[in-house]
Symmetry: C2
Subunit: 143 residues, 2 copies
C-alpha cells in the first residue's frame, strides 16, 4: 500500500478535516481543534497549516514554532483538565499531514498507565451547546 | 494513584532504564537508545538527559534541541529502515521522564494504519551479536 497522501488529496489541506465547528484557535504555524472523540476529555489536535508529513520536513523555524505551540497548548490543557500527565503524539499513519494529538490524561482516566489507543471505549461526540461550550471555554483559556 | 515519579526514584535518572547495552549515541540534551522490543525494527527511544516531565517544563532552548534531535534521528531511521511513516510519541504514563518513542513504520508492518500499541505481538528482544550489530550500524549512520 502507498503511504503518502498527496497534498492534492489531503483532507486537512482540503478543509475536510478536522471539522470547522471544532476549531479552537488559529496560530501562525498550526491550528488547534478539539478532537471529535471526547471520551478523553480535552483531547485536542494541533494541525500544521501547510502540508508536510514528517518533523524533518520542516524548517528549524517551523519545527520550533510547532513544538512551542504544542507545549503552550499542553500547559493550558493540563491546567484546565487537571492532567496527571500529558500525552503528545505525532502519528499520521492514516492521515500523514503533520498533527499533534495532545491528550490530557486525567486522574479519573480508566487506564492511566496505557496509551489511549489501548483503551476500548465508545467514542463520545459532542454536539450543540456541549460542543460550543467546551470550544468557547478553551478559546478563553488560550487567549 | 500518584502520577509523578520523583527524580530521586526515577529509573532513567538512576541509570536503570534504558539498558546501557542498548545505547546508540549520547547527545547534548538527550541520549538515544534502541528500544528493547524490536518487533517494530528500528524503534528507538530518545531520553532527555536531565529530569523533566512535560514539554512545557523545558526551556525554549532545550525544547528546540530536543525536537531537532528527534527530527534528525527520525530522518536517519526512516532512511535506514525504509519507513512509510515515522511515529513520534511522548507519553510517559508509566515513566514520566521525558522520552520520545521514534518508530519507523515499515512497508511490511502488520497493521500500518494503527498505532503500535494496538498491534498484539510477542516482544522481540535482541541479544549478543544481533543487538551489537544493530547498535553498531545505527551508530555509524548517526555519526
Amino acid at each position: 500500500m502507498e503511504a503518502a497522501v498527496e497534498q492534492s488529496s489531503c483532507p486537512a489541506c482540503a478543509g475536510a478535516w478536522p471539522r470547522t465547528d471544532h476549531l479552537i484557535a488559529r496560530g501562525d504555524v498550526a491550528d488547534l481543534y478539539l478532537h471529535e472523540d471526547q471520551f478523553f476529555r480535552g483531547w485536542c489536535v494541533l494541525v500544521l497549516r501547510r502540508h508536510a508529513v514528517e518533523l524533518y520536513d520542516l524548517t528549524c523555524t517551523e519545527r520550533h514554532a510547532f513544538v512551542d505551540q504544542a507545549a503552550a497548548v499542553s500547559a493550558a490543557l493540563a491546567s484546565v483538565f487537571q492532567a496527571r500527565k500529558m500525552n503528545y503524539e505525532l502519528l499520521g499513519n492514516q492521515l500523514p499531514h503533520l498533527h499533534w494529538h495532545l491528550i490530557p490524561r486525567r486522574l479519573g482516566d480508566p487506564s492511566p498507565l496505557e496509551p489511549v489507543w489501548r483503551i476500548p471505549h465508545e467514542p463520545r461526540t459532542l454536539t450543540g451547546e456541549d460542543l460550543e461550550g467546551l470550544v468557547r471555554r478553551l478559546r478563553l483559556v488560550l487567549q
